[in-house]
């Protein structure tokens, strides 16, 4: 057998030369784009690309599908393909002329986050590098939102977060290029605290079951602080593994602990399972310390309510938005959404829709797609009419401040979209907090080339 004689040095040389030769043209192409006032993926043609990065598979696929519906609706409105009834109450509606954004037609790319950080980042990278997206929005988990947000900061692409409830998104891990319209665990605590005290009295002892990861911990801390401020005591806070399925071993000790309220810091399937089991164990019929035993679920979603079925009846929690709200923005949006898709929008859809409209509006007000100026237009922006009442995009941490809803599971729902009723609208002043309590650093708003 003959042998090819090839020295290591020659092989390396040839390899390096090939690499340089292939890389060179790209280098020049990149340089050609560099000019003043260019940020990553600024549109040069007649179209502008947005990236809709939502879970299409995995546990939150339903939320993702609803978000996509909302994005599609927002794009149609921006392009003037459908009438602008849904944003008729929006204070910035005059800026949006139905001719795209800044006269450029809106197109979009989509991707599947799978509710995994790695997949979400890969999908966002594809949108930035291949799709040419100038803004990325979506997500239905805090871990994913924070991962994509930091990628967007690195690449200089604006990220408009959708469903993410952890304090960290606009707290410890906040980023200059990231914006959140949804509320957070701290606001849930502040809103729920006073209602719980009104409803169940000031002398209560709470027992927490908490999903054992960052979101669960921040929520447990927020609820604990808020309820203890009202005079409650905390008997114990027990961490449960994520996706435990069977919570009976955690629920049994609750009754012997002397606690008379059970707080479930669970989300998604975990919450459905733990709540259902707590109800099956008859916790809600029990009497402790001469009071009726109560269960509280600080973060609700329509989807979770559907999963929990009748167990949700009478349970108190908080929500960012509900389609039954009685204001002009909500009515306009719900009506338009219902006309298009034949069902009321979820709170995930509402936050996704609002984020897209707010981004388009900020570009129009800034008069450019240049990211640092769009960021400046969003920071400290006070607006109204998207369904949440008067809303402020706070400049210090890019968190939206608006009223928070305290909701309760309905006793006699009409259909599966009518499971929650609004107990109280907690005004925005009561849930506003000092941005410095969570630390973190927004970082610079310098434009990046890509």
């Amino acid at each position: 057998m003959s042998k090819l004689t090839l020295s290591r040095r020659r092989l390396l040389k040839a390899g390096a030369a090939t690499g340089v030769a292939l890389g060179a043209p790209l280098h020049f192409v990149k340089g050609a784009y560099a000019q003043d006032k260019m940020s990553c993926n600024m549109p040069t043609g007649s179209e502008v690309v947005l990236g809709f990065n939502v879970p299409q598979s995995g546990p939150y696929a339903d939320e993702g599908a609803d978000e996509l519906r909302a994005y599609q609706m927002a794009v149609d409105i921006l392009n003037g393909d459908s009438d602008a009834d849904a944003i008729s109450a929006f204070s910035g509606a005059g800026n949006l002329k139905g001719n795209g954004i800044l006269g450029k037609k809106v197109t979009y790319v989509t991707g599947d986050t799978q509710t995994k950080s790695d997949a979400a980042r890969a999908s966002a990278q594809k949108m930035i590098e291949d799709g040419g997206a100038i803004m990325i929005t979506g997500g239905s988990s805090s871990g994913v939102a924070i991962a994509v947000q930091s990628l967007c900061q690195e690449r200089g692409v604006i990220f408009m977060a959708a469903l993410t409830h952890s304090n960290d998104t606009t707290g410890k891990d906040k980023k200059r290029y990231g914006f959140r319209h949804f509320f957070n665990a701290y606001m849930s605590g502040e809103a729920l605290g006073s209602v719980l005290a009104e409803e169940y009295g000031k002398e209560r002892t709470a027992y927490h079951l908490t999903a054992d990861y960052t979101w669960g911990w921040t929520q447990e801390e927020s609820i604990k602080n808020a309820t203890e401020k009202q005079g409650w005591q905390t008997a114990q806070a027990v961490r449960t593994p994520l996706g435990a399925g069977d919570f009976s071993q955690y629920i049994t000790p609750v009754l012997n602990s002397g606690a008379d309220v059970l707080v479930l810091n669970h989300y998604g399937k975990d919450m459905v399972n733990s709540l259902t089991q707590a109800v099956q164990f008859g916790l809600r019929e029990k009497q402790v310390n001469g009071k009726d035993f109560q269960v509280v679920v600080p973060l609700f979603s329509e989807l979770m309510a559907q999963g929990a079925g009748s167990a949700i009846k009478g349970i108190l929690g908080t929500a960012n938005w509900d389609w039954k709200l009685n204001n002009a923005g909500t009515k306009a949006f719900t009506q338009a959404f219902g006309k298009k898709y034949g069902q009321p929008p979820s709170q995930a859809a509402q936050t996704a829709f609002a984020q897209t409209i707010l981004y388009a509006d900020a570009c129009e007000r800034a008069g450019t797609f240049y990211a640092p100026e769009v960021i400046a237009a969003l920071e400290g922006y006070e607006h109204d009419g998207l369904g949440n009442g008067p809303t402020l995009y706070r400049a210090e941490d890019h968190q939206c401040f608006k009223d928070v809803l305290v909701v309760q599971g309905k006793d006699d729902p009409k259909d599966k979209f009518d499971l929650l009723e609004i107990r109280k609208i907690v005004p925005r002043d009561e849930v506003t907090y000092d941005p410095s309590i969570f630390g973190g650093d927004l970082g610079p708003a310098d434009a990046k080339q890509c």
């Binding site: 057998m1 003959s2 042998k3 090819l4 090839l6 390899g15 090939t18 690499g19 292939l22 890389g23 790209l26 280098h27 990149k30 299409q56 598979s57 696929a61 599908a65 197109t107 979009y108 790319v109 989509t110 991707g111 599947d112 995994k116 950080s117 790695d118 997949a119 980042r121 890969a122 999908s123 990278q125 594809k126 930035i128 590098e129 291949d130 799709g131 805090s142 871990g143 924070i146 991962a147 930091s150 990628l151 900061q153 690195e154 690449r155 952890s166 960290d168 891990d173 054992d212 990861y213 960052t214 979101w215 961490r239 593994p241 994520l242 650093d441 970082g443 610079p444 310098d446 890509c450």
Partner: protein, 383 residues
């Protein structure tokens, strides 16, 4: 040094090198010519090549290799945070950590074989995933994932007075940016992939590789001839763990964030799928399998109705509507379905993976060749 490789092997390496380095050119028409996905192709190819050294040669099916990938990732990010943004340092540290973990887990798991070995590795990996997700949050940052921060010390970079950029620094290879989505990131991964491929050929062709095959064919007989299979197995396990650690290090070098879910059992299962899809025990098979699965995951999942409508634009209205509706089942959120179908077809009709398909096609076209060649072709597929 280059003794035991045949001319065909060298041609294979040369062809592989050209294909990998020219990937930006031939992948562009397929919609995958951008750096991030090509980096993923290279990284998962390395992961699968390493996995194949264990599974393909010894037949030991590890269901926990993603754990080493995760260890490599975390080790890499900690190196960036604490010392330097240079990827060489982080890669070396990731290799050391992944190697250590592989040694410990391998030493324990390899006391059993077959399904028990698989379950042991799976248990270890799930344990590490859960620990990383919750208990070890100070080290792994739990669900949020370990990221770089502005306030990181980066002692070595600061001591050397590296230029302070506004915002987060990028990972670099002696001044060349690796992260941040540029082509250098891809070429860095590509060169390492080629080196890994070369090393894997060397292992396949070495006496050590022969020992590993002996373990697969009949371990008892090997023992009777006076060889102790344990050290060979452990060495193979550690080598494939190192490959996984290297893949993890490259993942954070090109995109500096490490999350626990890349250690989950689904990630371990994915590399098994890649290897089987491409062809277990073949040299190129795992690379093809890894590329194909990552392609489906990233490209097919991004097709939406707009793109489909544009694709079927040439059809008349009614037919187009049908074509769009039908193909929408298989793209976008349906990409899993497509992948599943492809996998089923391959496993049912080509048990040797895609490489068996290629070998069969080659056999069809070279019937005039001697029987020797035909025999060799089947060996390639069955190896």
């Amino acid at each position: 040094m280059f003794g035991n490789l045949s001319r065909n092997d060298w041609l294979l390496i040369a062809g592989f090198t050209v294909l990998v380095l020219a990937a930006p050119i031939w992948l562009a028409p397929l919609g995958a010519g951008y750096p991030a996905i090509m980096e993923k192709f290279c990284i998962f190819a390395i992961f699968a090549i390493g996995f194949n050294i264990l599974f393909g040669l010894t037949g030991y099916l590890s269901f926990g290799h993603a754990a080493f990938l995760g260890v490599g990732s975390y080790a890499g990010v900690w190196m960036f945070k604490l010392f330097s943004m240079n990827v060489v340092l982080s890669t070396v540290f990731a290799l050391i950590c992944a190697g250590l973990f592989a040694l410990i887990i391998g030493y324990i798991s390899l006391r059993r074989s077959g399904i028990y070995f698989s379950i042991l590795t799976l248990a270890f990996a799930q344990m590490m995933y859960n620990v990383a997700y919750s208990v070890l949050t100070p080290i792994t940052n739990g669900e949020t994932g370990l990221q770089l921060e502005l306030s990181d010390p980066r002692y070595l970079d600061n001591a050397l007075g590296a230029s302070q950029s506004i915002g987060l620094p990028r990972t670099s290879f002696f001044g060349i940016d690796i992260s941040g989505g540029g082509m250098p990131g891809f070429y860095f991964c590509a060169v390492i992939l080629i080196i890994c491929f070369y090393l894997s050929i060397r292992i396949f062709r070495s006496p050590f590789g022969m020992m590993l095959r002996a373990i697969k064919s009949n371990q008892t007989r090997m023992k009777y001839t006076g060889f102790n299979p344990k050290p060979y197995l452990l060495a193979a396990f550690v080598i494939s763990g190192l490959y996984a650690g290297l893949a993890g290090a490259l993942m954070v070098a090109t995109d500096p964030l490490a999350g626990a879910e890349r250690m989950q059992w689904t990630a371990s299962g994915e590399v098994v799928l890649m290897t089987i899809l491409g062809g277990v025990g073949t040299l190129v098979g795992p690379v093809i399998g890894a590329t194909l699965i990552k392609y489906f995951e990233n490209i097919f999942s991004a097709f939406n109705e707009n793109i489909l409508n544009a694709t079927f634009d040439f059809l008349p209205e009614g037919l187009r509507h049908f074509a769009v509706e039908f193909s929408a089942l298989f793209v976008g959120e349906g990409w899993f379905l497509t992948l599943g179908l492809v996998f089923m077809i391959v496993v049912i009709f080509l048990p040797g993976g895609i490489m068996e398909g290629i070998a069969r096609i080659r056999a069809l076209f070279s019937k005039k060749k001697t029987q020797d060649d035909a025999a060799e072709g089947s060996v390639v597929a069955a190896e």
